[in-house]
């Protein structure tokens, strides 16, 4: 009688079945719908915008871009947009990282519940969320009322209809986009690496700084990039919660389109923004290439 030598429950990592290659025709078939949607919904309008930006009243010209370069309004809005996008994505990252870390350490069951909680605001209309923010953070909002009740000396705080308001709302808006790439990169770290570090004598603090953080940095970079790009293109949130002087790029485009009817200028701004975002993504990909 020979008892079978059974395989361990430990298992080897990465043995899930992944077909090495699909047939080219299959790839083409799967890609076609996506490419079609992108062509009709994104590339065509972009091409039209590019054409419009280069096509003034008197035929081909780069006047629209020259005018932008000389416009103080454009540069002010541009730098304001970058600042808000930067601040809100940093805030989202700082808030999202501990959240993702917590989620990565729970059991899959608890994690699913937490994921739903993160996704609920994501599924809620921006309009609804913006009004909710006014109820919470407005001059007569819940927060200021509470502060007044506690005799807070510097109230009421002006948290809405200015840059702070846009920042708060946008950070809130992009948190799900930050949490998921972070969570993915955290779950990819082999649990035994943490156990090994613990057995070797590392404190939780050391493990975080020397193991968790370096291993999740590529995920954090990806998360930041997504948040930042979303921030650059924000439109509804600044329109609803921003101050009059806190125009963002998207609102400036809208203003040119509908108020001054200067389509070449609007198109030139859109093309410039798109170009900048593409350049940023290219740069970020180069910098944060995964290390393993």
């Amino acid at each position: 009688m020979l008892l079978a030598r059974e395989g361990g429950t430990g298992g080897l990592p990465g043995l899930a079945f992944v077909p090495r290659r699909y047939r080219p025709t299959a790839i083409a078939g799967l890609l076609t719908p996506g490419i079609a949607v992108m062509t009709v919904g994104f590339l065509t309008p972009l091409a039209i915008a590019l054409w419009t930006s280069l096509h003034g009243a008197g035929g081909w010209s780069i006047d629209a871009y020259m005018a932008l370069a000389g416009s103080t309004l454009f540069w002010r809005v541009m730098s304001g947009t970058f600042q808000i996008a930067l601040l809100s994505s940093i805030a989202a990252l700082l808030l999202g990282y501990p959240l993702a870390l917590h989620m990565s350490q729970r059991s899959p069951k608890v994690r699913r519940v937490l994921m739903m909680l993160v996704l609920i605001p994501f599924w809620t209309s921006i309009l609804v969320k913006s009004y909710a923010f006014i109820v919470l953070f407005g001059r007569e909002g819940l927060l200021n009322q509470a502060l007044r009740a506690w005799y807070f000396p510097f109230g009421p705080l002006d948290l809405m209809f200015n840059r702070t308001g846009v920042g708060i709302a946008m950070a809130h808006q992009v948190i799900p986009f930050v949490v998921f790439p972070l969570l993915t990169s955290m779950l990819q770290v082999d649990r035994n690496v943490y156990r090994a570090a613990e057995i070797m004598g590392a404190s939780p603090y050391t493990i975080f700084w020397r193991v968790t953080l370096p291993l999740t940095l590529p995920g954090a970079a990806a998360a930041f990039l997504i948040a930042f790009t979303l921030g650059l293109g924000a439109y509804i949130t600044p329109a609803l919660l921003g101050g009059r002087r806190d125009l963002m790029i998207a609102n400036l485009i809208d203003f040119r389109l509908r108020e001054t009817l200067d389509w070449p200028a609007a198109s030139a701004i859109a093309i410039t923004l798109t170009g900048l975002v593409c350049a940023l993504i290219a740069l970020a990909r180069r910098v944060s290439r995964p290390q393993h």
Partner: protein
């Protein structure tokens, strides 16, 4: 943090139990491991080997019982304060650090000076023959090389207890043999107490001072490899290590002579001392102890059977013989000692000497 360099620390399990939810993974385990001993936990999947090892590491908290390292009770000591070393099956190296930095990690945690770190890391790299690859990242190494690095990382802080959970499980046969020898050499050279997990019986027998055979969360038998192989205390132990012919035997008294008799009146061997006539026991006969008899040969115990299966393994040949009682008996021996000539359907005379038969203790029969 304990840095008990030099000799190994004894480990003592005193009624250690583990339940996951309501389900018992370890029934009370009481076991003493000698300082510097190489003890292997052997058993089928799910028998609780990893759980027991993780309790020593401090990764799993026992539900009951005490764990002692020498004179110190460590049951509630956090993993990072136990100072043990551990080698994992999947290496568990840090992918973002070079080989050098991986091995330096436990030393940096211990706030050892840069210069000392450089010296000690070089030392262990030399010990495992990986000095030339110090700057590589783990993913640039083969499985065997990664396991060498993780062994080096575990030895660099001179733990007096080293735990290994199927460290060679992901490697191919040849590499396994090579690393088995290296681990054995390191153990002899450094003198740590080794607690090793495997479900490979050959590995367990060739490396261990003692083997703790486990089944269903219970320790079945704790003995030296030869003892476990030749004097198993249960049919589970007999069947788990190597191949075993197990017979249901009855103790028969004839002409003032007591012997074990199998089905069909087959004489298996002498009765064990002190056994009552008529009692039933399980008798073990290892396949390599059965010979095919030539016409002029005889043996203390003989049988006639028909070959039902022939398997050729190069140096060894394995025959399955059906006895007149219908029972199958496996014979294994060197090819060329009459074994390879036998073909299927052939009738053979086989025999074995009295000392080849072991009666298992009564309670396990």
């Amino acid at each position: 943090m304990a840095d008990r360099a030099g000799s190994g620390t004894p480990i003592s399990f005193r009624g250690i139990e583990k339940r996951f939810g309501g389900v018992s993974a370890l029934s009370p385990v009481t076991l003493d491991i000698e300082p510097g001993e190489f003890l292997t936990l052997l058993g089928p999947s799910g028998s609780g080997k990893t759980t027991l090892l993780n309790i020593v590491a401090g990764l799993v908290e026992p539900s009951a019982g005490q764990l002692w390292f020498g004179e110190q009770e460590v049951t509630d000591l956090p993993a990072r304060e136990r100072g043990v070393g551990m080698v994992f099956q999947n290496y568990a190296l840090m992918p973002h650090l070079s080989v050098f930095e991986n091995i330096a990690f436990p030393l940096r945690v211990r706030k050892i000076s840069r210069a000392d770190i450089a010296v000690r890391v070089k030392e262990v790299l030399q010990l495992v023959g990986m000095l030339s690859l110090a700057d590589r990242r783990p993913r640039q190494l083969s499985g065997g090389q990664q396991q060498r690095v993780s062994i080096a990382r575990c030895l660099v802080y001179k733990p007096s207890i080293v735990l290994m959970d199927e460290p060679l499980g992901a490697l191919d046969k040849k590499l396994r043999m090579q690393l088995q020898l290296e681990i054995k050499r390191l153990h002899e050279q450094l003198g740590f107490t080794a607690l090793y997990v495997t479900h490979d019986q050959d590995e367990a027998m060739s490396m261990s001072d003692r083997i703790c055979l486990m089944d269903g969360g219970r320790t079945v038998q704790i003995s030296e490899p030869t003892e476990l192989y030749f004097r198993p205390q249960s049919s589970f132990a007999a069947g788990f290590l190597g191949e075993a012919n197990l017979f249901e035997a009855t103790l028969v008294q004839q002409n003032g002579h007591a012997f074990l008799e199998g089905a069909g009146g087959l004489r298996l061997g002498p009765a064990p001392e002190g056994a009552r006539p008529g009692s039933r026991r399980t008798a073990l006969l290892r396949p390599e102890n059965v010979r095919v008899l030539a016409t002029d040969e005889s043996a203390e115990n003989e049988a006639i059977g028909q070959v039902s299966e022939v398997a050729f393994f190069g140096g060894d040949t394995r025959l399955t013989v059906t006895l007149p009682s219908g029972m199958s008996l496996v014979i294994r021996g060197s090819t060329g000692h009459g074994l390879v000539k036998s073909g299927r359907g052939e009738t053979l005379r086989i025999g074995w000497c009295d000392s080849a038969v072991t009666a298992l203790p009564e309670q396990s029969a």
